[in-house]
């Protein structure tokens, strides 16, 4: 007689195996039977027993609808316990993906939500595939294929420019482009259309590394960002920082905030632009 510790219940294992497969994806009965049998030394699963096991799972409160002939789990009552607040938070993340991101990102986020749906005890909103913002996708394709683009703005202006990258700031999306020899950020809200041109661009239009010096109390308390590197540590007077990829307009607006405690060292184009901004700001108050 086998020892109790080695005894197990075959039917129970088969139910658990069925659930395990169902948690991995959406399958027809035929696919389910095939998948389950592929794990066994010889076929033991058939339509009738798998139906019984699916019913057993359903009896235990696991929601397994059959849509387009495919079975899938939509609710696991003893799974991840998501609250209404959690669902709202996931919804707010989902809205950003739907509004601003490419279809590849939407698909990836959809997969993530699908997994949470399977494992949680709450229903999460699913992504509507027709609401993807295609402009972002076209822009990113143009960057990877190194093609120029025509950005059409709501006010009727058109920019034939070189796409660099998409940038986020304070919850808003910008198209970072190179237009008329200048690095520009165009608010996605202002764009009514985008055309990818057949004309290719050559050269590297990525932003340069920007070096700035911080003085006084700011130098002591400054916390480096993810995209920054400390070039010179605090020497009693100042620090030097290299920044890459923050987006020119975002970086300049931030460095302006630092007042006279900040000075851009390199590149000269950024330094010149900073001077132009400050000079123009002073001109707002008359000739000073």
């Amino acid at each position: 007689m086998p020892k109790l510790s080695s005894k197990k219940n075959i039917a129970s294992m088969q139910v658990l195996k069925t659930l395990q497969i169902l948690l991995q994806g959406n399958f027809t009965m035929h696919e389910l039977v095939e998948k389950l049998n592929s794990q066994e030394p010889e076929p033991i699963f058939n339509n009738s027993v798998v139906s019984k096991y699916i019913n057993t799972c359903r009896y235990c409160g696991i929601e397994i609808p059959k849509i387009h002939n495919k079975y899938f789990v939509t609710n696991l009552p003893f799974g991840l316990d998501l609250t209404a607040v959690d669902i709202d938070l996931l919804g707010s993340l989902q809205n950003i993906v739907r509004r601003d991101m490419t279809s590849r990102m939407n698909k990836l986020f959809n997969t993530f939500l699908d997994k949470l749906n399977r494992f949680s005890n709450k229903r999460i909103m699913r992504v509507e595939k027709d609401s993807y913002k295609l402009t972002a996708e076209m822009f990113e394709n143009a960057v990877s294929e190194r093609r120029q683009i025509k950005l059409m703005l709501k006010n009727g202006l058109e920019y034939i420019c070189i796409p660099i990258k998409m940038i986020e700031n304070q919850g808003r999306t910008f198209f970072n482009v190179f237009y008329k020899n200048k690095d520009r950020m165009i608010d996605a809200e202002r764009v009514s259309g985008l055309e990818v041109l057949s004309r290719k661009f050559i050269g590297n239009f990525n932003e340069p590394s920007v070096i700035f010096e911080l003085k006084g109390g700011l130098a002591q308390r400054y916390a480096l960002r993810e995209n920054e590197q400390l070039l010179k540590p605090y020497d009693g007077e100042s620090i030097k920082v290299a920044n890459r990829g923050e987006g020119k307009d975002i970086l300049l607006a931030r460095l302006l905030r630092y007042d006279k405690d900040c000075e851009i060292i390199n590149p000269k184009s950024y330094r010149d632009e900073m001077f132009e901004i400050i000079d123009a700001a002073l001109n707002n108050y008359g000739s000073l």
Partner: protein, 309 residues
């Protein structure tokens, strides 16, 4: 969570299979004693009172064979079976976590500390549900509050809501010296990856912006709606464009013109107002008050001097 098995349904379902699912569900929710499992099984009609306890032991073995790591129920586990690992894990990929992080990053600067706390709870909840250590670490690492003590944040939020006066030990940025401050708590703000306590220094009689990282401890609290007048910095300015910025909740567009907006902003103090106005660059002209307008002009002159050299 589970319904009672009816005799009439038994030809449609697998009774032993149901026991395995119930046992798995119970252990996924919490560690259980042998008695709790037995009582639940009897309650759900999937075990008769006269049945041998061996049924449960075999069910536990079945789960173990399926890849569940279940401890023994002994004094170390308070005589409970603890499910340490199971093969029904939430299989989130690193790529999915990276996307969630990217999206959260877009959102975090525009939400309240309360919402950031809710996100923190959600990410921790997901992390606890995955077994892949790397994915788990990445999930724990998403939250902007990962290095803050949530309990302390909640207490400070409460202080702000009730306008409590708190006595704190504060580490000055410029030296290693710590100072004691008596501050009327007003608002907790997440800005530029830091959390600031906006308050009013009772002794110095001025508005203060304190980096939370520098608050060593809260020594005491004086509860309830303190009657302290706290001056704010009110600025009227003309903006040709918000540029890369967007209006803050403390800014009101008074008039819209063809060439821009007349805006009034109320800021916690002059320092924060200055930072905000300067960040608009040449899009902004301060109109009122006169002394603040002069302050901005002076700052711009000093800044121009740096680049003119």
């Amino acid at each position: 969570m589970f319904k009672t098995a009816e005799k009439t349904d038994l030809n449609q379902i697998s009774l032993t299979g149901m026991r395995a699912l119930v046992l798995l569900g119970m252990l996924m929710k919490a560690p259980r004693t042998f008695e709790e499992i037995r009582n639940t099984f009897i309650e759900l009609n999937i075990m008769e009172p006269e049945h041998s306890d061996d049924i449960i032991r075999i069910d536990l073995n079945t789960l173990r064979t399926m890849g569940c790591d279940i401890t023994k129920a002994n004094s170390k586990t308070n005589y409970r079976y603890v499910l340490l690992k199971h093969p029904f894990e939430l299989n989130i990929t690193k790529e999915e976590v990276a996307l969630v992080k990217k999206v959260y990053k877009r959102l975090k600067d525009n939400v309240s500390i309360e919402t950031l706390i809710e996100f923190d709870t959600l990410f921790n909840k997901l992390a606890e549900y995955v077994f892949d250590k790397e994915v788990q670490e990445s999930l724990y690492g998403i939250s902007a509050l990962k290095e803050f003590k949530i309990k302390e944040l909640r207490e400070l939020l409460d202080d702000c809501r009730k306008n409590n006066i708190i006595t704190i030990l504060y580490q000055k940025p410029s030296s290693k010296e710590q100072s004691r401050k008596e501050v009327l708590a007003q608002e907790l703000v997440y800005k530029n990856d830091k959390i600031y306590l906006y308050g009013y220094d009772i002794n110095k009689k001025e508005s203060v912006t304190l980096n939370l990282r520098r608050i060593i401890s809260v020594i005491s609290r004086t509860f309830g709606g303190q009657d302290v007048s706290t001056p704010a910095c009110r600025v009227k300015f003309f903006l040709t464009s918000f540029g890369i910025n967007k209006p803050e909740k403390n800014e009101v567009i008074l008039e819209k013109h063809d060439n821009g907006y007349l805006v009034e902003g109320v800021y916690h103090n002059d320092f924060i107002a200055c930072q905000r106005i300067l960040s608009f660059g040449s899009h902004c002209t301060v109109l009122e008050p006169e002394n603040f307008r002069e302050l901005i002009i002076e700052k711009l002159k000093q800044m121009r001097e740096i680049y003119n050299a």
